[in-house]
Subunit: 209 residues, 2 copies
Amino acid sequence: LPPQATVRRLSIYLRCLNLLDEEGVSVVSSRELAERLDLNPAQVRKDLAYFGEFGKRGVGYSVLKLRDHIIKILGLQQKRLVGIIGAGGRLGHALALYKGFEKRNFKVVALFDKDPHVINQVYGEAGPIHHVSELPRLVKALGIEILVLCVPAEAVPEAFEYVLLSGARAVLNFAPVKLASTEEVTVHNVDLAMELESLSYHLGIRETG
Amino acid sequence: LPPQATVRRLSIYLRCLNLLDEEGVSVVSSRELAERLDLNPAQVRKDLAYFGEFGKRGVGYSVLKLRDHIIKILGLQQKRLVGIIGAGGRLGHALALYKGFEKRNFKVVALFDKDPHVINQVYGEAGPIHHVSELPRLVKALGIEILVLCVPAEAVPEAFEYVLLSGARAVLNFAPVKLASTEEVTVHNVDLAMELESLSYHLGIRETG
Ligand SMILES: NC(=O)c1ccc[n+]([C@@H]2O[C@H](COP(=O)([O-])OP(=O)(O)OC[C@H]3O[C@@H](n4cnc5c(N)ncnc54)[C@H](O)[C@@H]3O)[C@@H](O)[C@H]2O)c1
Ligand SMILES: NC(=O)c1ccc[n+]([C@@H]2O[C@H](COP(=O)([O-])OP(=O)(O)OC[C@H]3O[C@@H](n4cnc5c(N)ncnc54)[C@H](O)[C@@H]3O)[C@@H](O)[C@H]2O)c1
């Protein structure tokens, strides 16, 4: 299996290839891709080699062929259905309305919460907020594959219990509790403080010159 | 300059070293660090070598020494002050209250917005929401280094104008517009759809077996 960082770079290559296509570029070398992304050309070739041979030595990669290949590797050729747990909260509500998900073929189709004041409220196209106890039934009925967890830390055990009962295969966790993947469910934990740490690194370089 | 991905991995090593310290482990090899993080040991050694020599061949790294070194490299030994633009909105409000920032030595000290209905509202310790036109004055008065941008796409040009006037050196952009870094300001763009793409990759593997 390729390392996690390689998979993340595929998302970055995909965005770059989309831009190249918009600019009318039809062939690109690993060197040109690396330059555009501030990466090392050997890293680009190594990343792509995990998934088979594409480009011709000395000629480069076909932008469209490579893009379509990466779309398949990332499993983005089909629409992935998403549910949000804690949708009545600030973060969950913001993610329920974020148009950037649909642009990448992710559709938020169901919202869940526990707070009686928010049940049945409607946000955009995702429909009414359901009580979290409905999760197992609706995940199966709608074919939801990914659940986004936006609940407080103390609610994670109960919410994850419902996730396991539902049969959903993937969880994106924002709650400040490190959740581990299981046999059936792949879990990715997000901590936006890490985004600030990479900015802090650049502030440190400016200070030391 | 080390690649962006290396800097991100430093944040991951830092969290792992904190855990090892809590478990009472005082020495760790690049192999053990790599195993815990599902990385390649040569990648760990290569990452750390960018920043000087720390471990002894065959002995490993001192957990505390390596942790403190990474804290310094990431510029985390001092508190970094943060302001949020669009704090009256859903995402901005959720980030204003997120306790994970302070745990990593980032303190949200000022909130900004343009909507007259939210000006002067108080969220937690960050104080009242100021009008965005106050940004240049308050960034200088408080010594804010990082601004988090949580405004709609059409508001980005105006908000970024205030950022440039303020002298802040770093921006974390959530708005769906790709902002470029300038001479004075390092900009990182966040698209949470990329987190879903790395989950989609794992869904794709399950499907093809
Ligand atoms: N990882 C990050 O970078 C990051 C950033 C910001 C916030 N957060 C975290 O995200 C979470 C949400 O933050 P917020 O500001 O939106 O909080 P919030 O209080 O506004 O929202 C939480 C929502 O979860 C609901 N809830 C509580 N228990 C539940 C349960 N058992 N099942 C279903 N829903 C339940 C609540 O009713 C509420 O609507 C918090 O844990 C916060 O720490 C993480
Ligand atoms: N990158 C991601 O992964 C991601 C995820 C979710 C949302 N978003 C984006 O984040 C932004 C905020 O989302 P939201 O759901 O919180 O929206 P929102 O409408 O709730 O909040 C936007 C806030 O910005 C304020 N604002 C507007 N113009 C301003 C200006 N010129 N100066 C200062 N403040 C101004 C508004 O008054 C409002 O309070 C949107 O652009 C959304 O697309 C990005």
